[in-house]
């Protein structure tokens, strides 16, 4: 692949795949918020980048001008592949979302807590005697994938397959359509197989409500069962959305704690601060950037917005806006007022937000219980594109 042309001017030529963005995007966003709060690029066939909270919020709440039919800013724009509800606009969005919401309420998540704790604890068992680990590869990456496999009703042993597909779709797929399409086809085949198993195996059919595949096989919209294309799209979405997002969130929290002994010690001494700390990690290191496609000319924050462009909907940049968050660039683990948008705003609020919060909380708590003192032991590598988090996180500690 040809090397990317370096960005010369972030206001007219921004590129979220630029290595500077990948390493440390915060100064770029801070500067844009001051000088050009809605930047544009001719890359990606034209795309805007809002960095103010209010502008991100206005766009997220305006599905008339900003469609979710495409939710990733990519080099190419092939015909969208439906994965409802994330790729749906009103009025089609709501019935699909309502099928999923009851399985992801905070109350439903409390039933998963023992399972999540056991997963974390077993992972730590494998490296604690070594005195060092790559926390991204040996810990954080395995937690959400195992939990969502359990919820969907697919084997945890397929985890590496899921992680590869997600890398191909969310990272490589931005510039390589063939890789993305191949991964989507493999996922489609995978879930078609899991669905066929349920149809062929009466034992599984007897307990269809046990897991999400079973529930969605029985789910109806307007009295009709879902067709295979939509069902398969929803299952792919649940797998993609639930894995590297939370992997990134947990990783960023541990990265911060590895570099900030004062916060680590305070969280151990005052465990009641965990809820505000988790919200603050979500705000300061929001993993997920979404996108919209402009389908009708409009204006946002005084800036004309032209149909045909994409919008990189940077919730991470919005969450660093000092107009909404005092000391926005500081991590304040007891921040009491925190209306961050890490899980999005408007009708597309992340359906798995309660699951992500549970996994982050449990993962940090179980880690601190067993490994209270730890430091970075080398270079950290960050993912690129739609979801930002550490993919290599070398850490050392006293075994």
């Amino acid at each position: 692949m040809a090397p990317r042309k370096p960005v010369t001017d972030w206001t007219t030529d921004w590129d979220h795949l630029d290595p500077r963005w990948r390493e440390d995007p915060f100064p770029i966003w801070d500067e844009l918020r001051r000088s050009c709060p809605i930047a544009h690029t001719e890359r990606y066939q034209g795309a805007y980048l809002p960095t103010r909270y209010e502008d991100v919020r206005a766009i997220a709440n305006d599905s008339t001008h900003f469609s979710s039919r495409r939710v990733i800013v990519r080099e190419v724009r092939p015909e969208p592949i439906p994965s409802p509800p994330i790729t749906s606009d009103p009025p089609y969005h709501k019935p699909y979302k309502q099928l999923l919401l009851p399985s992801f309420t905070a109350e439903a998540m409390t039933r998963l807590e023992p399972k999540a704790r056991a997963i974390c604890s077993e992972l730590i068992d494998k490296f604690i005697a070594d005195g060092h680990c790559d926390a991204a590869q040996q810990y954080t990456r395995h937690i959400p994938v195992k939990v969502i496999a359990h919820m969907l009703g697919v084997p945890e042993t397929d985890s590496n397959l899921f992680i590869r597909w997600i890398h191909e779709i969310l990272e490589l797929g931005i510039t390589d359509d063939a890789v993305l399409m191949q991964a989507v086809r493999e996922m489609e085949g995978y879930f078609a197989g899991r669905i066929a198993e349920r149809h062929d195996n009466p034992e599984r059919r007897d307990r269809p409500k046990d897991d999400l595949i079973g529930q969605l096989l029985e789910a109806r919209i307007d009295g009709k069962l879902l067709d295979d294309q939509h069902l398969n799209g929803m299952l792919r979405l649940l797998l993609i959305a639930g894995i590297d997002t939370t992997w990134s969130g947990i990783g960023a929290a541990l990265w911060h704690l590895a570099r900030t002994p004062a916060d680590r010690d305070r969280l151990i001494a005052e465990p009641a601060l965990m809820p505000t700390a988790i919200e603050e990690f979500l705000r300061a290191f929001s993993p997920v950037t979404m996108a919209r496609e402009v389908v009708k000319d409009t204006e946002i924050g005084g800036c004309p917005i032209k149909a045909g462009n994409m919008v990189l909907l940077s919730f991470p940049a919005a969450n660093r806006d000092p107009a909404v968050f005092p000391d926005a660039d500081k991590v304040i683990i007891d921040r009491k007022q925190n209306r961050h948008s890490a899980f999005g705003l408007g009708i597309h609020r992340c359906v798995g937000s309660n699951l992500a919060r549970l996994e982050m909380t449990v993962a940090v708590e179980e880690w601190l219980k067993r490994i209270p003192h730890f430091t970075l032991a080398g270079d950290v590598a960050w993912s690129e594109g739609t979801v930002r988090g550490p993919r290599q996180l070398p850490i050392k500690f006293s075994p």
Binding site: Q98, L101, A106, E107, Q337, R339, H340, F343, L345, R349
Partner: protein, 65 residues
């Protein structure tokens, strides 16, 4: 003090319920509404204000009696 949740704005972020569990109830989709008639019992005013300040959708409203 009374609270109200605007059902058009609430998207089920669950932040109000997390910071002020006594003051809110959730439906089966996770969307919030005020518990009871929305009256905030004495001593819970600060929690009501926290719920308002943490709602990403600005859906929580407070009416001072």
């Amino acid at each position: 003090m009374r609270i109200r949740v605007d059902p058009e704005k609430c998207q089920g972020h669950n932040r109000c319920k997390a910071v002020a569990p006594e003051l809110f109830v959730l439906d089966r989709f996770g969307n919030a509404s005020a518990a009871g008639d929305g009256h905030v019992p004495p001593g819970f005013e600060e929690k009501a204000r926290l719920a308002l300040a943490n709602c990403p959708e600005m859906a929580v409203e407070i009416v001072e009696d």
